[in-house]
């Protein structure tokens, strides 16, 4: 393989430089710091011959990957090679359908741990196990890869470059792994938050209904004495603005001031309204 005096390798023609390409940070050593990113790199490094791999890594470090787009089941990237027209790379995995995701969500909801971890920006090992148990593996064992370059070897260096860039993107945003399988970050968290509580929450306003017809003999009489209604359990002194503090404030502004900031002084004075 020809190597120039600066130690750079090149093709016969050499790739065209890309301004603002997606260069990986890791200038030497492994690419993909987090274990979940490593899973991809491992697949790649298992299936690709070392030469293409090395060239792909170099492409990735140089920033030859112009961009990539991740949609459910498919990553499409553009890699600048030696020809003016960038090569188009696609890496596909099976995306899960609605029914499959419903199963995943139910399983995720069963332990708040996942939700807490996902919120904190991590993918715990248990999560992978959970997908495996459902026989809906999070990480593919094979990747369906193609490139528009004339290289007959698969994966070619362009595909490798995109995979390396992808691995590093996974480092930064593990949700991309999930998005590839069909659920984006927002969609997933919303679905998790919105999981109905399996125990029905008690509607505080639901009361027992009695037909007038059945109360004819005590139609005018309270069924619980009024003294009992007047009894109020002694309670700790509650600051009247407590509700404003304890709840998620609604995103409402009046004259650019958050609503809760306007309400707070008025609530504080409730217990002891200033005489007007």
């Amino acid at each position: 393989m020809p190597v120039d005096p600066q130690g750079r390798w090149f093709d016969n023609t050499g790739p065209i430089r890309v301004d603002g390409g997606l260069a990986v940070r890791a200038k030497r050593g492994k690419i993909g710091e987090q274990w979940w990113s490593r899973r991809f790199v491992d697949i790649l490094e298992r299936t690709c011959d070392p030469g293409r791999l090395a060239r792909g890594r170099a492409y990735a470090r140089k920033g030859q990957v112009i961009d990539f787009e991740l949609t459910p089941g498919r990553v499409a990237g553009r890699v600048q090679g030696s020809r003016p027209q960038p090569y188009e790379v696609t890496i596909a995995i099976p995306a899960y359908d609605e029914a499959q995701w419903t199963r995943v969500l139910a399983a995720l909801g069963s332990q708040a741990l996942y939700r807490a971890a996902l919120l904190a920006g991590e993918i715990p090992h248990e999560l992978v196990d959970l997908f495996d148990e459902l026989e809906l593996p999070l990480f593919p064992s094979t990747l369906e890869m193609s490139c528009s370059c004339p290289d007959w070897g698969t994966p070619c260096k362009h595909v490798s470059a995109v995979l390396y860039v992808l691995a590093e993107a996974f480092d930064d945003d593990p949700f991309l792994v999930l998005a590839w399988r069909g659920r984006g970050r927002e969609g997933l968290l919303t679905a998790l938050r919105g999981l109905p509580e399996p125990v029905e929450t008690i509607d505080p306003l639901a009361v027992e209904e009695v037909e007038l017809q059945t109360r004819l003999t005590d139609f005018y009489t309270p069924a619980i004495s009024l003294s009992r209604l007047r009894e109020r359990p002694g309670r700790v002194t509650v600051p009247p603005e407590l509700l404003l503090r304890v709840l998620d404030a609604p995103q409402i502004r009046v004259r650019h001031i958050p609503l809760v900031d306007i309400l707070r002084p008025a609530y504080r004075d409730l217990a002891d309204p200033p005489s007007t």
Binding site: S110, P204, I224, S225, R235, L242, P273
Partner: protein
């Protein structure tokens, strides 16, 4: 007398309205109309209703100024002939054949926003006014009060709603925790008549299905009332600057619509409304999330000795049953408990997530994937105690703190020692004791449980840490307390004081920041301070002039009264009702007069009018040697006559009203004592009555009350101010120091301090005390002497004259019938004028018996007891039932002949099993055999059956095998009437043989005219 009902007309896509309508029992009860919708025959026309309501008070007039006169179709129970009158309007036993019918009822209708003010004004009708509030109206008044309370606590959020197609800004209640439980109680309690109107108030020919459901009616009413309450509490506007115009951003217009009078937002674009209301709806919904059955709980635990590692453990806990407690650690390791939601870890995390807002340091724990606890250092633990814990608790989280948390840690200990060389034996303890006596005292500083030296204190102050361990016990030190303590150690801490000064110091209880937390005094002073005087004093034996025997606890009471009186201290004798406060007081008067050579100034006894004849009778019975003068009534003595009669009297009995009117004359007398019976009468220190009795000078003072004074702190202060003027300090200080901490926070320290401050002056024995029970008979029978009102006396005289003429002119069977009729009428007059007249006229203030019954039942209820009340007249029971129920706002069950077996069983079952204090009215005839009412420990016979066997049989309902408590039996007798004379006869005959009068009332009919005239004659003493 109009009976005014309240109906809530639930709104249809608009706020609901309040309707008032009234029954007039004087109108004909039936209608001849056969229509499906008929006019309510005895509902009052709206004009007359408005006149009656607004005539009684300016507040009501203002509140009802905008009421609309209208006609509602109400679904009410009734028969083919007419609607069933409400109990307040004198409904007879609701029989069979009742069904719902549509009745066109005139009403006053108020828009929702005015309902709160109107209910506030209607809450306390003038007892002398032309109308009374039925249970339905009183229910709505209580609901209005609840709405105000919620608004004052900030339990509502602003919302954007659409009312009749127009968007509007409204406040909506947030019902969580105790408020949610309260809401369910209100739902269960709602009298059906409150929702008898059609939703929206339409008077179209709608079926009964159109009336509001419980939930809809209550929810609508509460929402409307809370909105009105919030508006009344909120400032006029929350933002300064220009009022928004129709083109201002909706959020700003909406904000202004939340305060002031106009909630509507006409012309707002539906898209804007939807956008603004969405987050608001989510906000209100999330507020209700706290209602889950499981809550997150925090437990702070002390560090192991020698470390600084406080632990704050998280757990899930059942809101209903706090003993269902699952530590987060166990939760993460898979432990479950019954009642948990399917995803309990999510509940925990979500709860912790909410708690972060109130306790930001918690964030650190959430970095852990499976948060179970967090470690705090001492400073952080203190912050948690002071700031986060109360907020978390208020927000519905469980919080468990070490027992010492929140207690005042630093205090003073006062030690006194008498100087007498002789050991103060029990017998000699009080003999030479006086308030002038000098004692040695020492004051120590106490932190936690132990005393600390000045040096230790200085060291603690130097460390400047808020939480310290003193002698192995953690205490919270705050700066103010430390400063006060440092100041105190600089002061005189040893020396001598008079007993009186010590007492004053104990009552003062130290300063707010440095309270007196412990007192160690010996001798009689120690007994007095510890409240043990009654047990420790040398018993004063029953004085020779006392007719009867004092029970042992009564002798102890007498000794205590005597001891305080000798020291010149005022006392509160607060024994439970029925324990003989009157007898103890009378024996005190006798004991003071044992030595005939020592003149004793007279005692002035002030009592409610209903008790005058009782005192007179009891004095004559127990202490006939006392010279008693009753200063009361139009013919009472004045000027010189008064002075001369008082000069030779031992006991002068007067009423609170007379004391106020004759204050001038009463102040001139040198009283040995002024005693107030039913001292609740002076519970409000600002009233003229209370001021009057305080203004009468006397050497010593005594208050008698049966209500538990510790439950009514303002009342306690006022009564103490009467007994020992100035001793407790000004009311304001008392409120700040004791009343608010105890009533609002249930502060244990303040409760102990109050007990120490008042203990020396209050003697309260409960009938359930072990030492008392053994002294009491199982069945304690008492006669309650009542006086006739002037109206009763006039009626009584008229009946006697009428009937004697009729009896004179008749013979044989006819005469017998007339005699019985005369007796019945006279007994009815003794009960109540309205009982004789049967005119549905007003009840309060017209009968001595009723006044006494009101006082007695109030006291019974206050004590948490249950009573059986027997009358032989079903119509009197029907009058009493709604009246007492309204007066007490407690259940008053009514068992009479018109009830089905099932209904009787139901009543008996409720009386026996419900824990709420309540009354059970029974018709003597209907309450035949087979009833077992052992839940009662009071029996009252309102009128007399001249056959003691029948009375005894009735009494035994409450007094059966299984009754573990002592039963008090009271028989009401009107003095000076035939009731008193027949009672005397029964007593005489009883003395011969108890079976002699077993033949009922027949013997009376055999009396000749002169005997009858004597039997029926009214003794002038009877009239009040």
């Amino acid at each position: 007398m109009l009976v005014v009902h309240g109906v809530w007309i639930a709104g249809e896509s608009a706020p609901g309205r309040l309707a008032l309508w009234a029954e007039d029992p004087a109108l004909p009860l039936t209608t001849s109309s056969r229509a499906r919708r008929r006019p309510h025959p005895f509902a009052v026309p709206p004009g007359a209703l408005a006149a009656a309501l607004t005539g009684s008070s300016d507040d009501v007039r203002d509140a009802l100024a905008k009421a609309a006169e209208t006609e509602l179709v109400l679904q009410l129970p009734g028969t083919a002939k007419g609607p069933l009158p409400s109990p307040e309007a004198g409904s007879e036993a609701p029989g069979r054949g009742l069904r719902l019918g549509a009745w066109e009822t005139p009403a006053l209708v108020l828009p929702g926003e005015l309902a709160l003010t109107a209910l506030g004004a209607l809450a306390e009708p003038d007892p002398d006014g032309p109308w009374i509030a039925a249970a339905s109206l009183r229910y709505l008044c209580v609901l209005a009060g609840h709405a105000c309370d919620m608004a004052r606590r900030g339990r509502m959020l602003p919302q954007l709603v659409v009312e009749s197609g127009t968007p509007a800004g409204r406040w909506r209640p947030v019902l969580t925790g105790a408020d949610a439980a309260g809401y369910r109680d209100f739902a269960a309690a709602m009298p059906p008549v409150c929702r008898s109107a059609a939703v929206g108030g339409s008077s179209d020919d709608a079926g009964s299905s159109a009336t509001g459901s419980v939930g809809r009616t209550l929810r609508d009413a509460l929402e409307v009332l809370v909105d009105a309450a919030a508006r009344s509490l909120m400032p006029e506007r929350m933002l300064l600057g220009l009022r928004p115009g129709p083109r201002t951003a909706l959020a700003e217009r909406w904000l202004f619509s939340l305060t002031g009078a106009d909630p509507s937002l006409p012309g707002a674009k539906p898209a804007d409304v939807a956008e603004l209301s969405k987050p608001l709806v989510g906000w209100l919904r999330s507020a209700h999330d706290a209602n889950g059955p499981i809550r997150v709980s925090f437990r702070l635990t002390e560090p192991p000795p020698g470390t600084d590692d406080w632990a704050l453990d998280f757990a899930l806990q059942s809101a209903d049953d706090p003993s269902l407690y699952l530590p987060a650690d166990d939760l993460w390791s898979g432990t479950r408990m019954p009642g948990l939601p399917a995803n309990p870890d999510e509940t925990l995390l979500a709860g912790l997530g909410r708690a972060v807002r109130l306790f930001p340091a918690l964030h650190e724990a959430l970095l852990d994937a499976r948060p179970a606890a967090m470690a705090l250092n001492t400073g952080e633990a203190h912050d948690f105690l002071r700031q986060a814990a109360p907020l978390l608790q208020a927000a519905g989280f469980g919080v468990q703190l070490p027992a010492w948390a929140g207690r005042k840690a630093v205090g003073l200990k006062l030690t006194t020692r008498t100087r007498s060389k002789t050991p103060s034996g029990k017998a000699a303890a009080d003999s030479g004791f006086g308030l002038e006596q000098l004692v040695d005292f020492r004051i120590d500083l106490v932190i936690g449980d132990g005393t600390v030296s000045a040096e230790e204190l200085a060291e603690l102050a130097r460390l400047k840490v808020p939480l310290v361990r003193v002698r192995g016990q953690w205490v919270e030190l705050d700066d103010r307390q430390l400063k006060a303590a440092l100041k105190a150690v600089g002061k005189r801490r040893e020396g001598e004081l008079t007993a009186g000064e010590v007492l004053q110091q104990v009552v003062d209880g130290g300063e707010e920041d440095l309270p007196l937390v412990e007192v160690d005094a010996d001798g009689a002073l120690g007994d007095l301070i510890s409240g043990q005087a009654a047990e420790r004093l040398t018993p004063v034996p029953t004085p020779p002039g006392f007719q009867g025997t004092l029970r042992p606890y009564q002798e102890r009471g007498l000794s205590w009264l005597h001891f305080l009186a000798r020291l010149g201290l005022g006392g509160i004798l607060a024994d439970d009702m029925g324990l003989g406060k009157t007898a103890q007081t009378l024996s005190l008067l006798l004991a003071e007069r044992v030595d005939p050579d020592v003149p004793v100034a007279p005692t002035l006894l002030v009592c409610p009018m209903s008790l005058v004849s009782n005192w007179q009778k009891e004095a004559a019975r127990f202490a006939p040697a006392l010279r008693v003068h009753v200063h009361h009534g139009g013919a009472r003595k004045r000027d010189d006559d008064f002075r001369s009669v008082v000069a030779t009297a031992d006991l002068v009995i007067t009423t609170y009203g007379t004391a106020l009117r004759d204050l001038g004359a009463l102040r001139e007398v040198q009283w040995g004592r002024i005693a107030c019976d039913e001292a609740q009468a002076i519970k409000n220190s600002g009233t003229r009555q209370a001021q009057a009795v305080r203004a009468i000078p006397a050497r010593t003072r005594l208050a008698l009350t049966g209500t538990p004074v510790e439950n009514h702190l303002a009342e306690l202060w006022s009564i103490m101010e009467f007994c020992n003027p100035g001793l407790l300090g000004p009311a304001k200080r008392f409120r700040r120091r004791f009343q608010e901490p105890i009533e609002v926070r249930g502060d244990a320290d303040a409760t102990a301090a109050l007990k120490r401050a008042t203990g020396p002056f209050v003697l309260r024995r409960l009938k359930t005390d072990k030492s008392i029970i053994s002294d009491l008979p199982e069945k304690n029978e008492m006669k309650v002497w009542c006086t006739l009102t002037a109206e009763q006396a006039t009626l009584y005289q008229a009946v006697v004259e009428d009937m004697m003429a009729v009896i004179d002119n008749s013979e044989g069977i006819q005469r017998r019938g007339n005699v019985i009729a005369a007796m019945t009428k006279l007994k009815q007059v003794c009960n109540h004028p309205a009982h004789l007249l049967k005119d549905g006229s007003r009840l309060p203030g017209r009968s001595g018996k009723l006044a006494r019954l009101e006082e007695l039942t109030a006291e019974i209820i206050e004590d948490g007891d249950k009573a059986l009340i027997f009358t032989q007249y079903s119509e009197f029971g029907t009058m009493l039932q709604p009246y007492l129920a309204a007066h007490l706002d407690r259940p008053v069950l009514w068992l009479h002949g018109g009830l089905s077996k099932a209904r009787r069983d139901e009543l008996v079952e409720r009386f026996q099993s419900d824990t709420e204090p309540m009354l059970f009215l029974l018709s003597l005839k209907a309450a035949g055999t087979g009833l077992n009412l052992t839940a009662a420990n009071h029996v009252i016979h309102v009128d007399r059956w001249w056959n003691p066997a029948v009375e005894d049989q009735a009494t035994d309902r409450a007094f059966r095998i299984g009754q573990s408590r002592n039963v008090q039996v009271r028989k009401f007798i009107c003095t000076g009437t035939l009731e008193e004379k027949i009672d005397a006869m029964i007593e005489r005959k009883k003395a011969l043989a108890s079976s002699v009068v077993g033949t009922g009332e027949d013997w009376v009919t055999d009396l000749n005219t002169d005997q009858l005239r004597e039997l029926f004659a009214l003794d002038p003493v009877a009239v009040s």
